[in-house]
């Protein structure tokens, strides 16, 4: 696709596919949460993800790095994501996906705060404004 010197960047297709697939995951999670409990959904989620993760790994042919810190943080990533997903599925049992998904999508609030406190990363103005909007949205949606 080409419009007067502007070319639709290749990476944007992948970003749009990612947005669609993650959005579809939120939708499917709500459908599943109607009948399955969060633990059952998480088991199915993990089993469903495995073939894709294996295909990704085989395709990239990565030589596995074994830095101890990297291993620990990698494992912690998987555990934290898994436990967080349990919370997401539990929230979906009583509230609409169109409300829960934007709220849980605010997780960067904590990442930004932790990176600021523990890693001494500085917050930019856009992130500060985003934090205010995020807090306002949580208050409004809690009503």
């Amino acid at each position: 696709m080409q419009i007067e010197g502007w070319r639709f960047p290749n990476w944007l297709w992948y970003a749009l596919i990612g947005i669609f697939l993650w959005g579809l995951w939120g939708f499917l999670s709500k459908v599943g949460a109607e009948a399955a409990n969060p633990l059952q959904l998480q088991i199915l989620f993990t089993l469903g993800m495995l073939p894709v993760a294996c295909a990704m790994l085989l395709r990239t042919g990565t030589k596995l790095e074994r830095n101890h810190g990297g291993i620990i943080y990698g494992l912690l990533c998987g555990i934290a994501t898994g436990v967080g997903t349990l919370g997401y599925y539990a929230a979906l049992r009583t509230q609409a996906a169109s409300v829960v998904t934007p709220v849980t999508g605010l997780f960067p609030v904590l990442t930004v705060v932790l990176a600021f406190v523990l890693l001494r990363e500085r917050l930019n103005k856009v992130q500060m404004a985003g934090m205010l909007l995020a807090l306002a949205s949580v208050v409004i949606l809690s009503i």
Binding site: K30, G32, T46, T101, G130, M131, L141
Partner: protein
């Protein structure tokens, strides 16, 4: 049962913590290796989940939907990963992909007949904008200097 916002808070806390672990992990090993260890982290949870519950009582449709959810999420991870590999700047691509709840909202209102009220729509709009803005990271100094050099 607790208020849904408590469970959503657990998701925010754990996924937010994951973002920090991700930063710390990729400072030490490549993103590709990280994928392997993260997947193993997921697997570590499985025995605990199995000990608490099984899949008995679930019909084939729910099992299919659950498995499909996992596959779709994994493919979404691959797409975002590929997006960054194809040259997208993380400061642009990550806030963009943080808009994925927009897609869930469209699907849920069309296919599940969800009808948020006016106040909830306001909250949803603020959450979407806030989520995207929070994911915005300015380019690293080296990258900015390179851009400046190129512009000159």
């Amino acid at each position: 049962m607790l208020h849904w916002m408590v469970y959503a808070g657990i998701a925010i806390a754990m996924w937010g913590l994951n973002g920090l672990f991700m930063k710390l992990g990729t400072n030490r090993i490549s993103a590709h290796s990280m994928v392997i260890w993260v997947t193993l982290g997921f697997l570590l949870l499985l025995p605990f989940l199995w000990a608490e519950t099984g899949l008995a009582g679930l019909n084939a449709r729910v099992i299919f939907v659950g498995l499909l959810g996992g596959a779709v999420n994994g493919l979404g991870n691959w797409a975002v990963f590929a997006c960054l590999e194809k040259g997208a700047k993380a400061s642009v691509a990550i806030p963009l992909t943080a808009l994925y709840p927009l897609c869930t909202i469209v699907l849920a209102t069309v296919f599940l007949n969800e009808r948020p009220n006016a106040v909830q729509w306001l909250g949803i709009g603020l959450a979407l904008a806030g989520g995207a803005m929070l994911s915005y990271e300015t380019a690293p100094v080296a990258e900015r200097e390179e851009q400046l050099h190129c512009a000159q």
